[in-house]
């Protein structure tokens, strides 16, 4: 038995009461903890504890080793012989199988390096970094192979998927070095992932989707056509959702410096409609091609995002 079956046998609790404090923790507070690995571990471990299911190694038919029992472990896997000998609780662990290769495609364009509330809300890039680290930790923890692709108008960082524990440090190191700049060409990055992944795998696209939608959707469709699973995390700053209360102002795009003079108060209702239409379009197109689409604002606790990932993972079998 492995983690996939356990995830499907016992779906995580959906009630608010079942969520841990870490799961509800403001990502800005979480990021303030500093070390990326520590943050990722805290986020994932705390989230999984909240699921009341052991986060640790899966259980296949081939025994691998014992480990000390921790609260939340399934009592069926208790090694009673070991207990008889040592008077201590141990859990039997089995050799797990890794058949999922996941690419985390992270948008690091200039638009991602922006927040509407600098000391209260993370930039989209900071949030993406935190989210990617947590996903990488979770993937590797579950024995899946995790890779990284950071892109703006071209690919800036590429880390091939691996399932080893040491690989986590490589990924986190790459994530820590990401800086936002330039324009965005998500389609190119996605196409390159499609070409590089020979086995079917999972591609997690983390972006604000301020891209050319047609090209990007076409690339995602190509990815799906190659048999890969696609999970799109659409990140949006709360200010991008509602439009800042700026009154009369000149707004400019940090990527290409394009300007627009207007009164934000007067345009707010129409702006919201435009955002809603864009989100609706992304969701619809993704659904058509069989990709999962999720919109998150950067003040959303990470647990919510991880939960979406786990659901996707459980469906992959």
């Amino acid at each position: 038995m492995d983690v996939r079956s356990s995830a499907s046998d016992a779906p995580p609790s959906r009630t608010a009461a079942g969520r841990s404090a870490v799961e509800r923790l403001d990502p800005a507070h979480l990021a303030a903890l500093g070390n990326l690995e520590f943050v990722a571990r805290a986020a994932v471990e705390g989230f999984l504890i909240g699921l009341h299911r052991s986060p640790h190694r899966g259980f296949s038919v081939e025994f691998a080793e014992n480990r000390p029992y921790v609260p939340g472990d399934d009592a069926r896997y208790m090694d009673w012989r070991k207990y008889a000998r040592s008077d201590r609780y141990y859990i039997k662990q089995y050799e797990e199988e890794t058949n999922l290769r996941a690419y985390l495609a992270v948008d690091i364009s200039g638009s991602m390096d922006w927040t509407s509330a600098p000391r209260r809300v993370l930039t989209k890039l900071e949030y993406a970094r935190l989210l990617s680290a947590s996903l990488a930790y979770l993937l590797l923890r579950q024995g899946d192979a995790a890779g990284l692709l950071a892109f703006d108008d071209r690919i800036r960082v590429r880390v091939h998927p691996r399932a080893t524990r040491r690989h986590l440090g490589t990924l986190l190191g790459s994530l820590a070095g990401l800086e936002g700049s330039g324009t965005t060409d998500a389609s190119g990055a996605v196409r390159e992932v499609a070409l590089r992944m020979r086995r079917r795998g999972l591609v997690v696209l983390i972006s604000d989707l301020l891209v050319d939608p047609d090209e990007t959707l076409r690339a995602l469709h190509f990815l799906r056509h190659r048999g890969h699973e696609v999970l799109v995390f659409h990140l949006m700053d709360p200010g991008e959702r509602d439009l800042p209360q700026a009154g009369d102002a000149v707004f400019f795009d940090p990527e290409d410096e394009a300007e627009l003079r207007t009164d934000s108060a007067a345009l707010r209702p129409e702006y919201r409609r435009a955002v809603e239409e864009a989100v609706r379009s992304w969701r619809l197109e993704c659904r058509r091609m069989g990709a999962d689409y999720h919109l998150f604002t950067t003040d959303t606790p990470l647990g919510a995002v991880l939960r979406e990932y786990l659901e996707k993972r459980s469906r992959l079998g």
Binding site: L210, D248, L260
Partner: protein, 645 residues
């Protein structure tokens, strides 16, 4: 349109402020990074036209708001304002409180309704207004504020007097102070009585507004316009004659019920022709003063439906008969003495009320009688003594002579209400009375030929009565007729006035001299006024006023409605104003016209409240435009965690 504070228009310059602020803010707007500018651009492209319209409307609303507030601060006045919106004014309220104003008009008297209109003027008064209350009858109240004038207005007396409106208008003009920047106005509240329109002898100055309140109250009226009483002897029995009047000429000949009331009790009832006259037989009412009135059913004006007088029957007069004792006159006097109607004295002394001289006395009559004694002179039966008789008349100062004239036959007498049956009498003699400069009005009885037969007058200090022929059967059928005694009573009581005293009533509003010793007067309504004896007193209400004398006795004073007040016919507005010297007077008939006419110098209605309301609407518009779509429900954006924001 005018403005109370035109300087406030300077505030309108602030209207440029929104424009300047708009331009200023365009130059200094902030520059903000915003990655999702594509959505912002889409939103702007979709709502560019609406935004442009909105911006224009916002600018118009803000500029308009400043302008509207500036205009409102200037306190504009438009058109002709309400009654309370007027210049400081000096107003004379001239109240016609004459008797005709007591007619019933609707549910109140005309005076009370006009008083209500005058009150509406005071209710719309401003703090700077000044008022004078001038009743047409009675003293004026000078320079009062609205509250004081209201009290004075309520205290204006109802009267039954006639009013001299011309004099009242002149008094109103005299009371008004010089213009001194204040609007001046005379307000007349009257009934437009035609009989009260004076001749235009005075012109109201042009700078004085003249407003007349007219309330239609033309009602028909019946009145008792005259009452006379002639007691025929001691006790008061005699005749009361009342003259009636009606405003409805076509009903003359119809009858009304008339009552004779003595001391408050009905003594007699008769049917009388409307507009005609009625005669009552006055019963024996005994000595003392009596209030006699004739009353008809209530009509338009109540006060003139009764008319009264005061009657004091006389004591049996002391009479001296100078002539043959066995004459017809002597026998008649003896009969009257037996009946207690006269008291015969043997000699003419100071106590004789009358001396009846039949023929020529042995001594000169004026040497032995007191002044005031009435001479009753009967020519001698012997024509030879006529010369001496005429000589006596001359010495007494009587301007008549008795002469013998040629006549073809007997002379008949004209009938008289004073002596029933007189028309039967035939005079056989050929005597005639010849005037020596006497007045024709002195004739009491005359023959059918038009010759005087009984005349009355006053000579020196004595009244006299002169008969035109001897009173013996050879010269007249009177001594042997049933009319002899009535003739003698008329001679002794009615024509001499010895049968009693009738106090002539005084017209309400006119002065009568009070008796010496008068202390106070009680009006018919019970109001007691302290007076001085011998001073003039003008009763304002019709009725019997009781004059209390210092000796504890009471004298009665009858006051009646002037006949002119009974005619309630109304004059036209033009003739009424013209007669009062104000041909351009504004006449307000209905209550609506009245409220639209009072305070002739109005400043216009205040527009500021409407401008403030407009400003509030502009503020509302500004709020709606400045926050577009905020009132619409936000459509939620679905999030990956299942929550919605």
């Amino acid at each position: 349109m005018s403005f109370l504070a035109p300087w406030a228009f300077g505030l309108a310059a602030l209207a440029a402020l929104p424009v300047v602020l708009h331009l200023f803010r365009r130059d200094t707007r902030r520059r903000l990074a915003f990655p999702a500018i594509r959505y912002l651009r889409q939103a702007r492209d979709r709502s560019a036209r609406a935004l442009k319209i909105r911006d224009r409307l916002l600018l118009v609303a803000r500029v308009g708001l400043v302008i509207v507030l500036a205009v409102a601060a200037a306190a504009p006045l438009a058109g002709r304002g309400e009654a309370s919106d007027h210049e400081p004014s000096d107003v004379v309220l001239l109240i016609d409180n004459s008797g005709s104003m007591n007619r019933i008009a609707g549910d109140a008297t005309l005076l009370d309704r006009q008083r209500g209109r005058a009150r509406s003027i005071l209710q719309h008064a401003g703090p700077s207004d000044r008022f004078w209350i001038v009743p047409a009858v009675g003293p004026a109240v000078t320079r009062a504020d609205a509250a004081e004038a209201t009290i004075a207005l309520d205290q204006v007396d109802e009267t039954d007097a006639a009013a001299d409106l011309g004099a009242a208008v002149r008094e109103a003009v005299r009371l008004l102070p010089a213009r001194d920047g204040r609007y001046r106005e005379i307000v007349l509240l009257s009934d437009f009585q035609r009989s009260a329109v004076p001749r235009p002898t005075f012109v109201v100055p042009d700078d004085i507004g003249f407003l007349i309140s007219r309330i239609e109250a033309g009602v028909s009226n019946d009145a008792v316009v005259g009452v006379t009483a002639e007691p025929s002897g001691p006790g008061g029995d005699g005749a009361v004659v009342a003259s009636l009047w009606t405003s409805e000429r076509e009903t003359v000949g119809d009858t009304v019920e008339a009552r004779l009331v003595v001391d408050g009790e009905t003594a007699s009832i008769a049917r009388a022709s409307r507009g005609g006259s009625v005669v009552f037989r006055l019963p024996d009412i005994g000595p003392g003063e009596h209030a006699i009135s004739v009353e008809i059913p209530p009509s338009g004006l109540r006060a003139d439906d009764r008319r009264m007088l005061v009657l004091r029957p006389g004591e049996p007069p002391a009479v001296v008969h100078s002539g043959p004792v066995d004459s017809s006159v002597g026998h008649a006097l003896a009969t009257l003495e037996e009946a207690g109607r006269v008291s015969l004295l043997p000699d003419p002394g100071e106590h004789a009320a009358a001396v009846l001289i039949e023929g020529v006395p042995a001594t000169e009559p004026d040497e032995v009688v007191a002044p005031g004694t009435v001479w009753i002179l009967v020519p001698p039966t012997d024509d030879a003594l006529l010369a001496r008789f005429n000589s006596m008349l001359g010495s007494l100062g009587v301007p008549w002579r008795v002469e013998v004239v040629e006549a073809p036959g007997d002379l008949s007498l004209v009938s008289s209400p004073d002596v029933p049956g007189l028309e039967r009498i035939r005079n056989r003699g050929h005597h005639a009375l010849v005037s020596m400069g006497a007045s024709a009005s002195d004739v009491l009885l005359e023959t059918t030929a038009g010759a005087p037969w009984v005349v009355r007058g006053s000579a020196a200090s004595h009244p006299y009565l002169l008969i035109g022929s001897p009173l013996d059967p050879d010269h007249s059928t009177l001594p042997v007729d049933a009319a002899m005694l009535p003739f003698m009573e008329a001679l002794l009581f009615r024509w001499t006035g010895l049968g009693g005293v009738v106090s002539s009533p005084v017209m309400a509003g006119e002065s009568a001299i009070l008796p010496e010793g008068a202390v106070s007067v009680a009006s018919p309504g019970g109001q007691v006024t302290r007076v001085d004896g011998g001073s003039p007193y003008a009763p304002l209400k019709a009725g019997v006023h009781a004059v209390l004398l210092s000796a504890g006795e009471t004298a009665l004073l009858a006051a009646v409605v002037p006949p002119s007040e009974s005619d309630l016919a109304e004059a036209s507005g033009d003739s009424f104003g013209g007669g009062l010297g104000a041909p351009d007077a504004v006449v307000a008939g209905t209550d609506t016209e009245w409220l639209a006419s009072i305070y002739g110098r109005r400043r216009g209605a205040r527009v500021a409240p409407y401008l403030i309301a407009l400003a509030l609407l502009l503020v509302l518009e500004e709020m709606v435009l400045a926050t577009p779509g905020e009132s619409r429900p936000r459509r939620a954006v679905a999030h990956g965690d299942g929550s919605r924001q």
